[in-house]
């Protein structure tokens, strides 16, 4: 059965875009930390663990919440039949640097467990799965840049192998000069139509409107 994108959220340039519409854009943005906190608060669903996450997980988590909000996606599927597949480019560069700062001075050697747990990029998938109690397959790929073909191929492979009934796919990148993420929900289409392809994923990431 062919796959279709049923909803997506793109966070780029201090904007939250859901299915092509800007749903959150602060009037004034001083920095990424303030922006992502405001975007989280705008969701209106308190989740205190958000504040403990690193920037990479915050990005992916907030985008996933916007994509899943009022979608009924989580409720439609068995929790072990939802797969999560993500891409990323700088791995956990910021968390790695923060961790390094806590261990570089032998006379002031206090590594923070709360920082250290975010020095693996697949934790971002863990945060989405913990929040939504998802137990299905999950994969994270680190590639030089946003790679729609890789994501589409991996999700199609999991679908071909019947590893999942539905998919949360995406890309999340948090570095010192770039913070952007795309999260899309992929479901099997009843009518055989499919809009899940490399071209459409690239267009969404480039902020081109996708007609549903």
């Amino acid at each position: 059965m062919s796959l279709s994108i049923t909803k997506y959220c793109l966070i780029k340039d201090y904007k939250v875009i859901v299915n092509g519409e800007i749903v959150f854009k602060p009037e004034e943005t001083t920095n990424f930390e303030t922006f992502i906190k405001e975007a989280y608060k705008n969701l209106g669903t308190p989740y205190p663990k958000f504040y403990k996450m690193d920037n990479l997980s915050k990005l992916a988590f907030v985008a996933s919440e916007y994509a899943l909000k009022n979608s009924g996606f989580i409720e439609r599927y068995e929790k072990d039949k939802i797969a999560v597949v993500f891409g990323n480019s700088s791995s956990t560069l910021i968390a790695d640097t923060e961790h390094q700062k806590t261990i570089s001075d032998k006379n002031n050697y206090f590594p923070s467990p709360a920082v250290f747990v975010y020095t693996l990029p697949n934790i971002l998938i863990g945060e989405i799965c913990i929040k939504n109690k998802i137990f299905g397959e999950n994969e994270l790929f680190v590639s030089k840049e946003f790679d729609a073909e890789l994501l589409v191929n991996e999700i199609n492979s999991l679908n071909f192998l019947s590893k999942a009934d539905a998919f949360i796919g995406g890309y999340a990148e948090a570095s010192y000069n770039k913070n952007e993420t795309l999260v899309f929900l992929i479901e099997k289409s009843d009518d055989g139509s499919s809009n899940f392809d490399v071209n459409n994923i690239n267009n969404i990431f480039a902020e081109k409107y996708l007609d549903f």
Partner: protein, 91 residues
């Protein structure tokens, strides 16, 4: 340092330090009841938070918890934590 603080002053200091160290942004120091459970139904802290508090004790108070079995008793509440700091600073 803590040896100059009263129990109440130390409790207030710990409340501020824990909020800051554990990124409990939704909470104010006065929201934390010094006798409420830190873990489970109380503040709802998790195992990573417990490790952070262990680091906090060592970094800010120079206290190292040698016996992990003691953890449950020490971390029962802010007050038990404060008492542990006072006891070990005296010794």
């Amino acid at each position: 340092m803590s040896e100059n603080l009263t129990m109440d002053e130390l409790i207030n200091k710990l409340r501020e330090e824990i909020i800051q160290q554990l990124n409990l942004e939704d909470l104010k120091p006065e929201d934390i009841d010094p006798d409420s459970a830190l873990f489970g139904d109380g503040l709802g802290l998790d195992s990573i938070d417990a490790l952070e508090i262990i680091v906090l004790l060592e970094k800010n108070y120079g206290i190292k918890i040698e016996d992990p079995k003691e953890g449950k008793k020490i971390f029962a509440s802010i007050r038990t934590l404060a008492q542990y700091i006072i006891d070990h600073k005296k010794n």
